[in-house]
């Protein structure tokens, strides 16, 4: 019965959300990372009293301000979209999403707007220490406000700490700490903000490299490169650590995502990791069936590495795409067909409850059905697979086919993951080389390397967006893992209106993006304030 779904509407709604989220994500990582870099620079100024540190801080603060101003409030559009385009989803998630977003809004407003004002307006009006405190609080406030949206996102990837209320059709929080401190939430928060730190470090190195190429602002450039390289190196190690712990968590909570990241069709023990690979065009990775196989034109594998990454043990079995769909009794993996039937049973119980409640809300039958949704066995065996029920069909052959449709876009997930990892490795190398050469005072002679530093800036944005694609595309067809498929989250509105807003957003976003690039480049070319102006302040 999937043919009843208007996939044009679903896809346009997804496209609209992806466009908005990806545009918003252009600005966030730089804000997150650059705030700490400039806070450290200002600390150096307060500690040493050297006015050059003040010039350096003010220069990066100016670029921070441009990025912040263009990006601010672009995330609010996502909230509009929840109510209009994703109303079923918004209702279903209830306060799980509403509460964190409300806290984020309040925190962002009070912390960031207050302290950002002190940061920009307060140089000659408040004491040095108060100003420094405001700068640090801006940085900490930015990270704190990111926590809430990431906790909400983590809950969608791994819905824990909540209870599905069949009377309101909403998920209710039963344990805040289970939601807030779930393995997924912790990994997601640390991995995401450190990715922002890495991006900002590359931005600082890239801009500073340009100054060295132009033989301008040599002291500013060298000092900035030292700080950004160290910050980038530390952040990269944390990024690798949380990437590793994410893999260990994803294999438990979203095994299909992990299988898609590696285009692993057949599960295996001692599973190798594809370090680099090109998928064959012959294999249509969109239409997976029982005969599908990973078909690579070329690949370099690291033996047993995937088993080790996923379980910390090279002998462990890593489930492939087909194991997850068809089930694997030996490994205790339930087939999708079975999950679909169990989810369908939960949905039928919900429908039955609504039907009996229509006549008599307090009838014993209604009470018995309500109790079912509180029964731990029913929750564990049926409610947990609620969303699978949407793929049910009375015809067993159609049901089997539907199970094979529950696979994320494999090529996109595979390439996004590998681009992110390969670029992450390249960035680590870049930080190490830049730090070594700048400490040896040999960097300014290496023009090719300096240009490489400049051109790594767009690569950092590509890696950052690729990470988002892995997280969000890799979890399809789910908007809430196992509970709600994306096709059911969408509001049934006219597809034309979604297309109109998509085009409107595209035009607005392109305009804002051009403004950002133009103002940013102009201010980089202008450079920091003159030394005599700084000394007068």
């Amino acid at each position: 019965m999937l043919e009843n779904i208007d996939f044009t509407l679903v896809n346009w709604s997804r496209g609209q959300f992806a466009l908005t989220a990806m545009f918003h994500w252009i600005f966030v990582p730089l804000t997150l990372g650059l705030s700490y870099i400039m806070a450290y620079m200002e600390t150096m100024y307060v500690k040493t009293g050297d006015p050059e540190w003040k010039r350096i801080t003010k220069f990066w603060m100016k670029l921070f301000g441009i990025n912040f101003a263009i990006g601010v409030a672009t995330g609010i559009i996502l909230e509009f979209e929840f109510g209009t385009n994703w109303s079923n989803y918004s209702w279903f998630v209830g306060d799980i999403f509403g509460a964190p977003l409300a806290i984020e809004g309040i925190m962002a407003f009070f912390l960031e707007s207050t302290f950002i004002a002190v940061m920009f307006f307060g140089w000659d009006k408040v004491s040095k220490r108060f100003h420094l405190t405001a700068t640090w609080l801006t940085a900490i406030g930015a990270s704190l406000s990111a926590i809430w949206i990431l906790v909400a996102n983590a809950w969608m990837q791994n819905p824990v700490g909540t209870f599905f209320n069949p009377e309101t059709a909403r998920n209710e929080m039963i344990n805040f700490w289970d939601v807030f401190l779930s393995e997924t939430a912790v990994n997601k928060f640390v991995h995401t903000i450190t990715s922002g730190f890495v991006l900002a470090s590359i931005f600082v190195i890239g801009v500073s490299s340009w100054f060295l190429i132009k033989k301008r602002e040599l002291l500013l450039a060298k000092r900035s490169i030292v700080i950004a390289s160290v910050f980038g190196l530390i952040s990269s190690f944390v990024l690798i650590g949380t990437g590793d712990s994410s893999a260990k968590e994803i294999v438990k909570t979203q095994p299909m995502k992990l299988a898609a990241m590696e285009a692993l069709y057949e599960g295996q023990t001692n599973a190798p990791l594809v370090a680099f690979g090109i998928l064959s065009g012959k294999e249509n990775h969109k239409n997976v069936d029982a005969d599908s196989q990973a078909d690579f034109l070329f690949k370099i594998e690291i033996p047993s590495m995937l088993s080790w990454l996923a379980y910390g043990d090279t002998d462990n079995f890593v489930a492939g795409i087909k194991d997850l769909i068809m089930g694997n009794e030996e490994q205790g993996i339930l087939s999708y067909e079975e999950k679909i039937k169990r989810g369908y049973e939960a949905q039928q119980a919900l429908l039955a409850l609504k039907k009996v409640q229509k006549n008599n809300p307090e009838s014993p039958e209604a009470e018995a059905l309500k109790a079912k949704f509180r029964d731990p066995d029913f929750i564990e065996n049926n409610v947990k697979y609620f969303g699978y029920g949407n793929f049910y069909d009375p015809d067993p052959e159609v049901l089997k086919k539907n199970a094979f449709k529950m696979v994320p876009p494999i090529s996109m997930t595979f390439y996004a993951f590998h681009i992110m990892v390969i670029l992450g490795g390249l960035f680590l190398l870049l930080f190490a080389v830049f730090l070594y050469l700048v400490m040896k005072d040999q960097l300014h002679n290496k023009k090719w390397l300096l240009w490489a530093g400049v051109w790594t800036i767009p690569l950092a944005y590509i890696a950052s967006q690729a990470g988002w694609i892995v997280a969000e595309v890799g979890r399809q067809p789910w908007v809430i893992q196992d509970l709600m498929p994306t096709m059911k989250a969408v509001t049934h509105i006219d597809v034309g209106s979604v297309m109109t807003t998509f085009i409107l957003f595209s035009v607005t976003f392109i305009g804002l993006f051009i403004a950002e690039i133009r103002i940013m480049i102009k201010q980089i070319k202008v450079g920091p304030q003159k030394k005599e102006d700084i000394n007068n302040v």
Partner: protein, 70 residues
């Protein structure tokens, strides 16, 4: 009162002394907020459940109907 006056002066002076690029950014922020909250929010992004259903019960029933259809 004195403290409030100081805070207000702080912001007023800050905005008055904005450099050219700062003024351009504020113009962009205000245009952006206008497009978002006046044009987009009012004309393109009504809250569907709030607009089309009167009570939470009606909203819940509508969502249940949607999410239980295979």
């Amino acid at each position: 009162m004195e403290r409030i006056k100081k805070i207000v002066d702080f912001y007023v002076t800050g905005f008055r002394e904005l450099p050219g690029w700062g003024r351009a950014l504020w113009a962009i922020i205000l245009i952006k907020l206008f497009i978002m909250f006046v044009v987009l929010r009012l004309f393109f992004f009504p809250d569907q459940l709030q607009t089309n259903y009167k009570t939470d019960e009606e909203r819940a029933n509508h969502v249940i109907e949607n999410i239980t259809k295979p």
